[in-house]
């Protein structure tokens, strides 16, 4: 039996420690893991729990991240609760297996501590790895601080394991900025956390010998499309389950999560759309600008897969100018979130002015002042009635201005 771990009502945890505590409380059956900066402490902490008797399950340290996710699939198909953590290069290495996990409809929880992708090699926080996995078929949550890294990990198990969902779930947090920054966290008790998630109930259990199953069959041109469509539908249908789980979590903790978070949006003219720790920075900037009379607000896409097309529209259609910030090297195009948000806004009557900022790559700090500068620029667009700058700009970059494409509207 696992040794009990006494938690205080308020703890001081960084994002990594918070995530590892959530895994402990979820009573994960098998963690198959490989270390990579900055997610390493999640598995190290978990290893410490194992070594000191706090875990009833097994902890397997494999030889690569690809093997980690492969092991998660094998263990999950064998009918138990499974989880792991990774970042950046490790995430990239396991990308092939991510698609396989979701195609097999296995409710694995992956904690992604977001870090830039090489080359050049960088260990700091940016969203390049997150962006790489967008189409992998996983439900994806963004945590913006340590509390959320803990809360959303618990929610992830509950959502993924729901028999109407049966999909793997990622919980993202900013590398170093969240993962290594200690903050106040208010955890649930072990009992409350486990009861919230509930027991794992297997589906298509490899270890049910009365019902042998074949996992991972091949589908050619006469079957593949139907399978992928069914998978897409499952992802889309998970939205209502996610909403239910968030509601239940609020009853338990008083903390309410929404698939799209809106801050000061009731009357906002100018908006920053962001993810990760950028959200809090933008919120502080917005509050300061409000004192100057600028009606600034912030929108964060908390659950960006399945993409909340309708909720994004709802949140933003009343605004005049929206800056969508992408913390990932765009590789020759507009930022991915800009594309997704702009596509949603295209089907509105109001069609706010939307611009794109590439920022914070490789852990480059995104300051409150920078956020205010961006808000002011949005105000200039709003006043002019059209975009007055390039549509895509790099923010916080040393050197001459870098931007692309001008609007044809107005």
């Amino acid at each position: 039996m696992a040794v009990k771990y006494d938690l205080n009502e308020r703890e001081v945890w960084d994002g990594n420690f918070a995530a590892s505590q959530a895994l402990r409380q979820a009573q994960v059956d098998v963690v198959v893991a490989y270390p990579i900066t900055p997610s390493t402490p999640i598995v190290e902490n978990y290893g410490a729990y194992v070594a000191n008797g706090y875990i009833d399950g097994e902890f397997v340290m494999v030889e690569s991240e690809h093997a980690a996710m492969s092991g998660c699939i094998g263990a999950s198909a064998a009918g138990g609760r499974v989880s792991t953590a990774t970042s950046s290069q490790g995430f990239a290495l396991m990308v092939e297996v991510l698609y396989q996990a979701s195609g097999m409809r296995l409710p694995i929880v992956l904690n992604v501590v977001n870090r830039a992708l090489a080359s050049p090699l960088n260990v700091r926080g940016d969203h390049a790895d997150m962006y790489l996995g967008r189409d992998s078929g996983w439900i994806q949550f963004g945590a913006f601080n340590a509390q959320e890294a803990y809360d959303l990990a618990l929610c992830a198990f509950k959502v993924g394991e729901n028999h109407d969902v049966r999909l793997p779930v990622m919980v993202h947090q900013d590398g170093f900025i969240t993962s290594h920054t200690a903050q106040n966290c208010y955890p649930l008790t072990d009992e409350a956390a486990y009861n919230f998630i509930g027991d794992f109930v297997p589906v298509d259990d490899l270890l049910d010998f009365s019902r042998p199953v074949t996992y991972g069959a091949q589908t050619e041109e006469d079957w593949h499309f139907e399978h992928k469509a069914k998978q897409h539908k499952a992802l889309m249908d998970s939205r209502s389950v996610i909403d239910d789980v968030f509601e239940e979590f609020e009853k338990l903790t008083g903390r309410k999560y929404n698939r799209v978070e809106s801050y000061d949006m009731e009357d906002a003219d100018v908006v920053i759309v962001g993810l990760g720790t950028t959200v809090e920075t933008a919120r502080v900037a917005a509050k300061q600008l409000r004192e100057e009379g600028i009606k600034a607000g912030v929108v964060a896409i908390r659950c960006f897969r399945p993409f909340p097309f309708d909720l994004v529209r709802e949140a933003l259609e009343g605004a005049k100018a929206v800056a969508v910030t992408d913390r990932s090297a765009p590789g020759g195009a507009m930022g991915a979130f800009f594309n997704e948000v702009a596509a949603a806004l295209y089907s509105t009557d109001t069609r706010p002015l939307v611009t794109n900022f590439i920022y914070g790559l490789g852990g480059r700090d995104f300051s409150i002042d920078e956020a205010k500068r961006i808000f002011r620029e949005q105000q200039a667009h709003a006043d002019a009635g059209h975009i007055t700058t390039d549509i895509q700009q790099f923010s916080g970059l040393r050197g001459p201005h870098l931007g692309y494409f001008q609007t044809k509207r107005g």
């Binding site: 097999m104 409809r105 298509d204 009365s210 019902r211 042998p212 199953v213 589908t219």
Partner: protein
């Protein structure tokens, strides 16, 4: 002469490979395939004809169309050595209680391995044209080969 439907489950070989094309709403979740219907505990102790194969089991499919020639089994010459049984790549040699009974023509691809490994003289398995009927084939069975001096 063996029964063409020798020791068959009720649904052996009834389908063509590929199956009936259904819509996205009817394909299985996660592409999972179940091998049997109902409780399959102790399947290792059950002969094929006793099992409750699911429609997803390839047992219910046929590869007979692969053949242009087929093996014919002559029970009068056979010594039940089981060579053909152990080396058939298609689980198509029907052997029960150490006795060779014949070929599963739903699953046999006509590879001729069974003929090659048959040790009797004349062989107990020989290849004939796919459309040759068994009685005719058996009536044409060769005599014992004499050793060359």
């Amino acid at each position: 002469m063996q029964d063409q439907n020798l020791r068959a489950g009720s649904n052996r070989g009834e389908k063509e490979l590929g199956g009936e094309l259904v819509g996205w709403d009817e394909v299985t979740q996660g592409i999972i395939l179940t091998s049997f219907d109902g409780d399959a505990s102790g399947i290792a102790h059950m002969k094929a004809e006793e099992r409750n194969y699911s429609g997803f089991n390839s047992y219910t499919a046929s590869v007979a169309a692969w053949r242009v020639r087929k093996p014919v089994f002559n029970i009068d010459v056979c010594i039940d050595c089981q060579n053909c049984w152990v080396w058939c790549p298609d689980s198509s040699i029907i052997s029960r209680d150490k006795q060779m009974l014949g070929i599963d023509y739903d699953h046999c691809k006509g590879c001729e391995v069974c003929v090659e490994v048959c040790p009797t003289n004349p062989k107990s398995l020989l290849m004939f044209g796919e459309n040759e009927d068994l009685e005719t084939a058996l009536s044409q069975w060769p005599e014992k080969k004499k050793k060359e001096k």
